[in-house]
């Protein structure tokens, strides 16, 4: 009999084994992600400083948040984060889509092409930062040399030392680093679209632009939403290249939320404030992803 006592106990022991084998994963995530996450959310309601390790943390309710929203500087930091994220994600998706459409056509040596293009995504971020600080360097950097050669500029530009150009440079570097992933995911999506759809549209006399809007974009809808959500979250959360390229400067012009969380916590030792900013970040990340998923979803329903 299949469902006899032996069979049942086998099933149970398989379940136990299943839970046991997954336990290390769950334990690690609980200890290293879940607990710290909850702890930070909790600390956001306290006044605690690492400079006074023996003082008990004092509960201040929404005090930290009130200080944040009434602080004009904080909104500038939020704005910087939004500008950097929006700029880099838009750049990646637009350029990534152009390259993906261009090479999807038919491509010899696709293997080598893809392999080389993945490099910006996989090299360490400090290497990326080093290279770009050199490329953008006012005295030694090839970018200034190139622009002067073309007579686009007369004097070398100190890209990372002026507020606006520093932000533009950061957006460019983030775009550069994120582009391979965005491009590869979009390309993989493009390759799932059946060729006959385009042929049918062509028979009906559709232009390339019409085909892009009415075939490619709807077919890629799901992939596009995933790309937008993930790239937005990852760029928004990113710390290292801001820290390495500008350190948030000049004069806080490129100070982003993750940078601010770090500075408040590990430069000013203000645990409560740092946690409160981190909590605001999480809320923004969740809101952003919900909005994007929702938009993708509504469109999907509208398209049927």
């Amino acid at each position: 009999m299949r469902w006899g006592i032996r069979g049942l106990s086998l099933r149970n022991s398989e379940r136990l084994l299943g839970i046991g084998l997954l336990f290390p994963t769950v334990a690690l995530i609980a200890a290293v992600v879940l607990y710290p996450m909850i702890s930070t959310m909790w600390l956001a309601f306290f006044d605690e400083s690492l400079l006074r390790p023996n003082d008990p943390a004092e509960f201040v309710g929404l005090g930290n948040f009130v200080r944040l929203v009434t602080d004009g500087e904080f909104w500038k930091v939020v704005k910087n984060s939004v500008v950097l994220t929006a700029g880099a994600v838009a750049g990646e998706v637009i350029i990534g889509m152009i390259i993906a459409l261009a090479v999807n056509a038919s491509y010899r040596g696709r293997g080598l092409f893809r392999t080389l293009n993945i490099l910006p995504w996989v090299i360490p971020s400090f290497v990326t930062a080093f290279v770009w600080v050199w490329l953008l360097h006012p005295q030694f950097g090839p970018i200034n040399a190139f622009l002067q050669l073309l007579h686009i500029i007369d004097e070398p530009i100190a890209w990372l030392s002026e507020g606006v150009t520093a932000m533009v440079s950061l957006i460019a570097v983030y775009t550069w680093k994120g582009l391979p992933w965005t491009f590869l995911v979009l390309l993989a999506g493009l390759q799932t679209i059946p060729e006959d759809w385009y042929e049918a549209a062509k028979v009906d006399g559709a232009s390339a632009w019409q085909m892009f809007w009415h075939i490619t974009v709807p077919a890629l809808r799901y992939v596009l939403v995933i790309v937008l959500v993930l790239r937005t979250i990852w760029t928004f959360n990113s710390f290292d290249m801001v820290y390495l390229l500008t350190g948030g400067g000049p004069a806080r012009a490129t100070l982003t939320l993750p940078m601010q969380v770090f500075t408040a916590g590990f430069r000013e030792y203000n645990v409560g404030m740092s946690s409160a900013i981190a909590a605001v970040m999480v809320v923004l990340v969740v809101l952003l992803s919900l909005i994007m998923l929702r938009v993708g979803w509504v469109e999907e329903e509208a398209q049927g």
Partner: protein, 284 residues
């Protein structure tokens, strides 16, 4: 099978050229870095674009300065310890978990698997202070073990999903045959499934390695003295003097050398790397 969008290829040559041009833009900074690290110092001073692209001579001085610098070698060794440690622990933990998700169905398993992936949307800075406190309490501050545990946690969810889909692609009959012959579940996993999964495990391991090799933020907070610093922190604090052209040549050498393991992995994996990186995002 060719899945090309023919209609979009009507004017197909300019498009391919555009693609090549943009991919050149993607690669040229890395090319500059590698070439810069073996260019004479004057190349950095002269600002002659042709010379930056293709120097008149190649020199190994700066490379040698970095490669024989005991401080740099210490950073490299630390990075190697952390990355191999992370890779090893991640693969053990993720293999067990992935097998559980692939074969041993139990209530909640699927939910846990999906939940694990959400860790990729959590901002790292959110975890910094509590993790730092835990590390200090456990006496692991300034200790590579703290980095290995943290990195393992962040690489496991990805490894879990890659390995799960790999295990699912193997026919169940193989294990069932082994179990009919008297092997236990675990016996079947170790003797039948694992030997067949070596290619998948190697690819997954290399992903874990890349993640640990590149990580910056936690290393910045958890390590303070140069005997335990990894390359990202060590090199970016030691080789940053940007005053002279020589500094730049040395900095480019340090960057290039730090990226060498990544270059090697890219060469080994090639298509596998691309497939792994885009995994999940397309299939969903």
């Amino acid at each position: 099978m060719r899945r090309v969008t023919k209609v979009l290829t009507a004017n197909h040559r300019p498009r391919a050229l555009l693609g090549l041009f943009l991919s050149f833009l993607a690669v040229f900074p890395i090319y500059f870095m590698v070439v810069g690290s073996i260019s004479p110092v004057e190349t950095f001073l002269r600002r002659d674009l042709g010379e930056i692209l293709l120097p008149r001579a190649f020199v190994g001085d700066h490379m040698a300065v970095v490669a024989f610098d005991p401080v740099f070698l210490r950073f490299a060794l630390n990075s190697m310890i952390v990355a191999t440690g992370t890779t090893f622990v991640s693969i053990v933990v993720a293999t067990l978990g992935a097998y559980s998700l692939a074969r041993l169905r139990f209530p909640g398993g699927e939910v846990i698997g999906r939940f694990a992936l959400l860790t990729y949307t959590v901002p790292s800075v959110l975890l910094l202070i509590p993790l730092f406190k835990i590390v200090v309490t456990l006496n692991l501050a300034n200790n590579l073990v703290a980095l290995i545990i943290t990195y393992t946690t962040f690489s496991v969810p990805f490894c879990l999903w890659l390995l799960r889909s790999y295990f699912q692609s193997l026919p169940r009959d193989l294990e069932e045959a082994a179990m009919v012959d008297g092997a236990s579940r675990l016996g079947a996993l170790f003797r039948v499934i694992l030997p067949l999964s070596v290619p998948g495990i190697v690819a997954t391991a290399l992903f874990a390695f890349i993640l640990a090799w590149n990580e910056f933020l936690f290393a910045l907070v958890f390590t303070t003295t140069s005997d335990v610093k990894t390359l990202p922190i060590g090199v970016s604090t030691t080789f940053t003097a940007e005053q002279t052209a020589t500094d730049w040549a040395v900095a480019m050498s340090a960057s290039t050398l730090s990226a060498v393991p990544i270059f090697i992995i890219v060469l080994i994996l090639q298509r596998g790397l691309v497939r792994g990186i885009t995994a999940g995002a397309v299939k969903g």
